[in-house]
Symmetry: C2
Subunit: 269 residues, 2 copies
Amino acid sequence: MNAVLRHADFRGETGEAARLRVRSGDHSGPTAGLAPGYVQANMAILPKALAADFQRFCAMNPKACPLLASSEPGDPTLPILGANLDIRTDLPRYRVWRDGELVEEVTNIKAQWRDDLVAFLIGCSFSFEEALLEDGIPLRHIACGSNVPMFRTTIPTQASGRFHGPTVVSMRPLKPADAIRAVQITSRFPSVHGAPIHIGKPELIGIKDVMQPDYGEPSEIRDDELPVFWACGVTPQAVIAAAKPDFCITHAPGYMLVTDLKNSRLAIL
Amino acid sequence: MNAVLRHADFRGETGEAARLRVRSGDHSGPTAGLAPGYVQANMAILPKALAADFQRFCAMNPKACPLLASSEPGDPTLPILGANLDIRTDLPRYRVWRDGELVEEVTNIKAQWRDDLVAFLIGCSFSFEEALLEDGIPLRHIACGSNVPMFRTTIPTQASGRFHGPTVVSMRPLKPADAIRAVQITSRFPSVHGAPIHIGKPELIGIKDVMQPDYGEPSEIRDDELPVFWACGVTPQAVIAAAKPDFCITHAPGYMLVTDLKNSRLAIL
């Protein structure tokens, strides 16, 4: 979920070229660093019977679940995200869940695909991290090559049907002036989590120990830094897991869909 | 310098109407609350011999010295800020300085006016405070009816000729989510100090005791709040005082120029 811009190897690669390498099996690892500058997306696939509730859940929780696109039931293409795109083959690794239990990890879902499935593609922090790094704001977890620390909070999401639960946040330690600049920059990117939802006082959002994240790895917070918290794409994953749908498919963490959209085109201003 | 929007009496008053009441002597007090929604400005008047250096000082320090307009030498009108406007008569109280010493406070400067004087009108926090209050963000000093706390910092200004010195900041305690929203809102108003320049850790900018301001009055900071710091219009006043020009005139603190500009028109987005 991190390490954006650290892989110089793939500079100049288009989103479509990255997808074709994944589809052919040439690339089977995490997608961080592929097709720099192109939007990568989290994915959740649900049966149509649950899709309306989840679509509404995303609409009501846009900071945690910024929906880039959802598919027509049974249709594995998503023209809005890329012309030559098949969600059954274009992610390097998928997780298949039954009744809330992970049953297998696979490299395509052609065998699992059904006519009633709806895919949800959700924005990810890669896009705004690229904008922060390009502005000269250092990100500790990327510099350290570690995963961003993530925490369950006491901030509830807006429930929709079976989908409900706490907001999960990611944390990046920043110097105060960089924190202010990061608010400005990420406010321009509402479709990839937008502005932070908290800053400075983890205990106020139910985080007991900021050095013990619930997901990812800890990041040191220095004396001249503030912890800055963004709503995180793990929120919908946790909410779906808690809802225990009879069937669903997600991307494996770090193995995202690379799209044809440029990150810069997500900026609203 | 505060208490914006607390005086319901003057709702509907235009900037021009407020100036005419001041000019006639009908209004002789501070200008907070006059002509709600209209921009008020700090003023400094310098001899032409110093004007170029000060104009450049403002240009290089736009967050502390956001220049709304400066006059032609000897011309007491400022059409860009109001059609019927005379800076010699339209502020309720002026301070006259010689060699860095305050020599008199007067209610007009017709007798002191000279052909070589240049007036500088500088944006003030009234405008962004109005935007914050209208968004539902409470401001402690206004709720308490006290003056905003202000501090000299270790953040230097960019020097220009004789004009140099530390940045002075104002502090407003805000809940973290309100602090994030306040960054967004005030970023839209670069001509009235813009985004905060610091947040959360006063000691990092040379403030030893946040309850002992250098100017204004202290504001309580509660456990669920962060101190948020904006560059402050006292910076140019302090810089001019330190430069000890042989002659200058300023507005008396709180007795500002009311203009014909709407606060909302200062928003860049």
